[in-house]
């Protein structure tokens, strides 16, 4: 690790200007809700930090999280920052395969013992070790082995953070999240299906700058990005307040950009930075594209009722049970009336 160039040196070699670099630091300070006085510290930390070793483990996942990182429209400064970390193991992106790849992982673990970061995407199946293996090693075994010497673990995406789609009912593989298994290391959850690239890089920047993990919410997510709901920051919020809702995907309300609450938007109960940080270099986010938020950064989002069912929908159970309650009511009423009639007859002396 000592021989590795610093991040600053790498950025300079990549042609990133001083202005561009400071702009990135200012943006990072801003999205991390840090005061402007912290910008020089962030810049110094990033410039002088040796390339930190990162081991990326992909388990039961769809590679969407990696796609999210790599499919940015243009090379961005945060993309270059990612180039500047030493991604020593990532079986989707690395050229090496098989034993060579595993050797690279072991080498990174040995060289950087106690100081490397482990990024995990995908959930871990406990139902049967054979459900998901890499180089013949089960996911749970690889996670435990790799995390043992790590400084911290970042669970990338909702599968790693909460079990995600593999963990959805009936959870056929017995999928669990990283935090279900890792108890002795700091775990930062960066959920989303997939997560926002800027959020991933900002979390890493925070770790590089301060050497600590950011403030987390009750689900282990950085408060900076997951502290407010999408609804609270949504540009369609005024339509919600006015009671103007799109009722179908192609009605006049949808064309006018009205609120998507009625189409099942989970923005009010979803904590993420989509509405502010956005996607594809700040182009838009799902709601801006006309689709309701699915709540993908929340635990068990797949099992929380229909995606297109409004949040205000109640679940009354089956019609049969309600009809049963009505029949029970009639029976009780008849019995009560019969008792009442007997009492009446007793008082009036009528038989």
């Amino acid at each position: 690790m000592k021989n590795r160039p610093t991040v600053g040196e790498i950025l300079q070699a990549k042609g990133v200007s001083r202005r561009g670099f400071l702009k990135y630091c200012a943006t990072t300070a801003s999205i991390l809700a840090l005061p402007p006085s912290m910008i020089p510290r962030i810049a110094a930390a990033i410039e002088n930090t040796r390339r930190p070793s990162v081991i990326w483990l992909s388990f039961q996942e769809c590679t969407g999280c990696t796609e999210s990182l790599t499919r940015s429209a243009a090379p961005t400064v945060e993309g270059l920052i990612f180039d500047a970390i030493s991604l020593d193991y990532h079986h989707t992106l690395q050229a090496a395969a098989g034993e060579q790849a595993e050797a690279a992982r072991h080498a990174a673990m040995e060289e950087n013992d106690g100081g490397y970061l482990v990024l995990v995407d995908g959930s871990i199946p406990l139902g049967n070790p054979g459900f998901s293996t890499i180089a013949g090693i089960s996911n749970v075994e690889m996670l435990k082995e790799t995390v043992a010497g790590a400084a911290a673990v970042v669970a990338i995406g909702s599968c790693a953070a909460f079990g995600g789609i593999p963990g959805a009912d009936p959870n056929p593989t017995g999928a669990v999240s990283v935090m279900d298994l890792v108890k002795d290391k700091p775990v930062i959850n960066v959920p989303g299906c997939p997560p926002i690239p800027m959020v991933m890089t900002a979390v890493l920047t925070h770790f590089l700058t301060f050497g600590t993990i950011p403030d987390l919410d009750k689900h282990g997510r950085p408060m900076t990005f997951f502290g407010t709901t999408i609804h609270d920051r949504c540009y369609r919020r005024p339509f919600y307040e006015q009671g103007k809702f799109a009722k179908t995907f192609d009605d006049e309300g949808a064309k006018a950009g009205w609120c998507l609450f009625k189409l099942g938007c989970k923005g009010p109960t979803t904590y993420n930075a989509c509405a502010t940080t956005k996607w594809n270099s700040g182009t838009s986010f799902p709601i801006e594209a006309g689709h309701p938020c699915l709540g993908c950064s929340e635990p068990n989002f797949w099992d929380r009722g229909g995606f297109y069912e409004p949040l205000s929908t109640g679940h009354f159970g089956s019609g049969e049970k309600l009809a049963g309650a009505a029949v029970a009511g009639v029976a009780l009423g008849v019995a009560a009336a019969a008792a009442g009639r007997r009492r009446q007859a007793k008082f009036t002396g009528e038989g």
Binding site: T229, H231, Y240, E241, Q242, G243, F245, F261, K262, P268, T269, P299, R304, G305, E309, P310, L311, S312, T313, G314, H315, F316, G317, K321, L322, G324, A325, A326, A328, G329, V330, L332, G333, V334, A336, A337, A338, G340, R341, Q344, A345, T348, E350
Partner: protein, 217 residues
Amino acid sequence: MDLLEFAKGPALQVAAYILVAGSIWRFVGIMLLKEKPDYSEPRKSAGILAALKVIYTRSFSAAPFKRATMYPKMMAYVMHIGLFAVVFLFVPHIMFFEGFLGFEWPGLPNSVIFFLAVAAVVSGIALLVRRLTNPVLRLISNFDDYFSWLVTILPFVTGLMIPVRMGVRYETLLAIHILSVALLMIWLPFGKLGHTFLVFITRGTTGMVFERKGAKT
């Protein structure tokens, strides 16, 4: 299962079963009661028109009591209008009803609903203060009066807290709001809140009895 899932699922289900069974129990129990034997000649025929007349006239204070009942009557009207508007004209609530009725109706902007909800809470508090400070009212009030007031006001207060937030998470407040509504649904058939579905039946019955006796209605 988190609190919101519990509130929207099992809690609302149980509350709905109790509301349906309890309301029908009370309604059928009352409707099947035997009428008192009437040995006198009716002064007037006690038809449905007599019932409708009293349903209408009892909506306002009688002239001699107008002054004395103006304040509570006004407060009660504000509270009931607010209650109606908040329950049936707030768009997310309309969506809630649409979920099981299958049709919708136009709603009001949130700001209007917010104003009416605050007005309803203020008038509700005013009515409670009157109940507590008026010696006669206090004497005739029992647990039912106070508990019915509480379960009616709670959904307003918990609902108003949702946009205000006060540092509490949206889904927690929404769950608390739904649970407070479930409590209202559970209590509604059994206490004085039964007037929700009995008010016009009792008032109409009074009208028909009075008409029969020849009383001025």
